[in-house]
Point group: C2
């Protein structure tokens, strides 16, 4: 686990912590801790005060993109590979934001497809491809996450029909369906689902038990769920194809 993530969690759990404590805990020098705190403060994770920092992460809120991106990479890669295998050449695909979908984007780089990613991270991962047709949706990128949201994004989605939507989400359960932390994100995801003939949800195991704030769609809107765990959680019973990567 990266030191930044370690600091983030320690400060979140303790509420606030001193620089010296963090230095002891991580084995790094105080100067390095200060530099780390500066980075995390810029990301909005915590707030600095003289001698330490206090957490700004609310419970049930997502840590910023930069911290999630190199976490659980194995599971993400396997899920991404399984998702990519479900997509046939020539399809048009709308690709959700989030770290799991970013992995999917990397695997699609040399495929022959039409892809509209909903996050600038994925756009950048794909912009050097010469084989696929890249479509950028309009919108306002959310800081850090770089997920595109807002009326321009919704308009871009409504103007098009896709073969497949690949949706990454913050929570999924048979009872509450697909849920997201951010209200704007939720409406974008909903628009993406509406514009697609087939919907694939890419969900790592940690999301299967969780439920987030904003409702996106019921489980019945999904055609397939790709996950890395065995826990089925009643999804199969609800009529969804569950693919275990």
């Amino acid at each position: 686990m990266s030191r930044l993530k370690q600091i983030t969690e320690a400060v979140r759990d303790a509420g606030s912590l001193g620089v010296a404590d963090l230095a002891t805990m991580t084995g790094a020098s105080e100067m390095t801790i200060r530099r780390d705190l500066e980075v995390l403060a810029a990301q909005g994770v915590l707030e600095r005060y003289r001698g330490g920092a206090r957490s700004l992460l609310l419970r049930g809120e997502e840590p910023p993109f930069a911290l999630r991106s190199d976490e659980n990479t194995d599971a993400k890669r396997r899920i991404a590979a399984a998702v990519a295998a479900l997509i046939a050449d020539g399809e048009s695909v709308v690709l959700d934001s989030g770290t799991t979908c970013l992995e999917v984007a990397r695997l699609l780089h040399d495929r022959r497809l039409t892809v509209m990613p909903l996050s600038l991270h994925a756009v950048n991962a794909l912009s050097s491809s010469s084989t696929l047709t890249l479509l950028v949706p309009g919108g306002r990128p959310r800081p850090g996450e770089l997920a595109l949201t807002g009326p321009l994004t919704l308009a871009s989605l409504q103007a098009l029909r896709f073969d497949t939507a690949v949706i990454g989400c913050c929570g999924l359960s048979a009872a509450h369906g697909l849920t997201a932390f951010d209200l704007e994100d939720a409406s974008v995801k909903r628009a993406a689902i509406t514009s697609a003939r087939r919907v694939i949800a890419a969900v790592d195991a940690s999301k299967l038990t969780r439920t987030a704030l904003a409702h996106v769609a019921p489980v019945s809107a999904l055609h397939a769920v790709v996950t890395d765990a065995d826990g089925d959680d009643g999804l199969t019973a609800a009529g969804v194809t569950v693919v275990t990567a």
Copy 2:
């Protein structure tokens, strides 16, 4: 001048050249030349054949973005600074594609503005800003240039009104007005101009004498031209404010 640019020009001027010739000319090893040719071939600049390469650049065509980006940086920076000085805090700005406008984007990073860049390069330069509101237009990014074009881009522009449009162009003259190499680009520029109350053209000296294929707008559509040369070329006579950086 970078070795890649040197090779590009030598091959363009000679039509085709051998690897050994290029190695002698640049002082690099043949292996390095081969690697360079591979890069340039991927950019569509030239075509490789056994023993050398032949140019694919048509006369009057623009070299790819990667080769233009670190060329004439002084002039570009000065022009960009002058353009940035013309923009007041709080404005909404649409920012054209191209290397000059990318420099403008860098200068706007910490300003308080609403900015819609028409190229992904500029989007990336601005996406880490916490002070400005970044709007991404939809569209299909042109390979290399990453300029957004197509119906999604036009729709994004038509949906909004800007205070200022900053346009970079391929050619500008009092007689033929603003011209661009690419037809798609031309219609995007035209839409950007139509959506803006004030239009600033950022043009380095080399463009002032040139005329490109596609007509964008007459000189009368411009409110100010920022350039680095003294040559006025009848623009002032046509009623345009010329700012010399």
